[in-house]
Point group: C2
Chain length 236, copies 2
DNA sequence: TCATCTAAATGAACGGCATTCATTTAGTGG
DNA sequence: CCACTAAATGAATGCCGTTCATTTAGATGA
């Protein structure tokens, strides 16, 4: 009995973690067998979220996935929010920043923004966490910022505008991630249609003319506007 | 029974009433005399949130504010989420759309966007609710969309671009509302500073050069870019 | 070898939460 | 005056995250 095989192992997970540890007693003895660790918890959490969504994501369910008692998790993580932070940081490594090395600024930002939105539109409950999380707590997220900052710097942005510009893009991306999850009929004005003629006709016109997904149309529109407007800040 | 769908009966209320004041209260069981209604619940909820924040906002606390048992609320509201929807819709009436009647498009959007962000930056837990809420369920929100759509239409926007453009602005506004609540040291890279030179220097440069609040700098930058880019969609 | 140290796992709590339901209450309309 | 019904009650339900005293079992050092 006793787990043994139950640990996800997670073969391709580099143990790049620096054990933060919630407990005092830092004197290192390195005794026990390690049935659980942050990497395994993160992987299991991600899998559980994928299967059951954020409603089904409870500490009890997560523990059960790992064949462990719920309280055991608290030896490796100090709260549920901690787990969400781990998941968030892991997901951020799926955001594509590669183009900053190979493409001109505009195309690089475009690639980055679309992939960023796509990743987190499936994880909107994390957005309130990310938006307020100190970068120190999320190394992979910090790495993303470094790659993006470097790209902006190389593209000729004045230093003091780099962070505000990135934040502006990010704000737009987070808001747009929510938009992806909105129901198709969100703008159906129903019985109030008569009293909202301008809005109702605009909604109808969009539905008639457009074949793409409304969230993609809006995202593309806003992103291109930001690219043009913020791109103009670059030094000549 | 069980009215799974929406709010119950509401026999003789003109729907748009905002009864502000609390009601006469008695101590013991008081059934039929209309102690509670949606307007009163909304007002009490708003006040409670102002005093205790969203953490302290529980159905029990709300009921206690109204001198009523928690279960009594469910005669007027079908879930906590329903209360949040009522609050959200009420807050939306504080968003300023007046400028669409008096100012040129660009200035009107500016006023609208800043006030929209300011209102909801104090209520970020509502953002996941709004972003996904059918407009039918929120009459005042619908009214806001009508005013904004009319302004865009009058300004010469092609019909099929009006909704995407508004959604793009809104996405940016919601994301920026979160940004307002971020801690001041969110970008402090701490011990990792050495490995993130571009990012770290950009953060430092911003802190040195800017006297304004970082969230306002980013919002202004992004908003002006959107105004320029999307404004160009207008017919000549 | 064995006593000891300690990280990690356990299971039984705990308090808080939204929500349900049978019951009671008191106005209203017939 | 009575029957009906909207509205309030409070006890109960089930789920949740989290805590804690206790146990388990590798590793360490004698």
């Amino acid at each position: 009995m006793t787990a043994a095989t139950s640990v996800p192992a997670d073969p391709h997970s580099p143990a790049d973690q620096h054990s933060p540890a919630a407990n005092p007693r830092r004197r290192v003895g390195r005794p026990a067998a390690a049935v659980l660790d942050q990497g395994g918890i993160t992987a299991a959490a991600l899998q559980l979220i994928g299967k059951s969504g954020y409603d089904g994501f409870t500490m009890a369910a997560l523990a059960s996935t790992l064949n462990v008692a719920p309280s055991a998790l608290y030896n490796h993580v100090s709260s549920k929010r901690d787990v969400l932070v781990l998941v968030q940081d892991h997901l951020t490594s799926f955001v594509d920043v590669a183009a900053f090395e190979t493409e001109p600024w505009e195309q690089a930002v475009r690639d980055w923004a679309w992939s960023y939105r796509d990743v987190f539109s499936k994880h909107t409950p994390l957005i309130p966490v990310i938006a307020v999380l100190p970068v120190t707590d999320a190394p992979k997220t910090l790495a993303m910022y470094e790659a993006v900052s470097a790209g902006f710097s190389r593209a000729g942005f004045p230093q003091e505008r780099i962070i505000p510009a990135i934040v502006a893009f990010e704000s737009f991306i987070f808001g747009s991630a929510y938009d992806v999850t909105a129901p198709a009929d969100i703008f159906d004005s129903g019985t109030m249609a008569a009293s909202t003629p301008h809005f109702t006709s605009a909604v109808q016109r969009l539905a008639e003319d457009s074949h793409e997904k409304p969230a993609d149309v809006a995202f593309s529109l806003g992103l291109e506007a930001l690219l043009a407007g913020l791109g103009a800040l670059r030094a000549a």
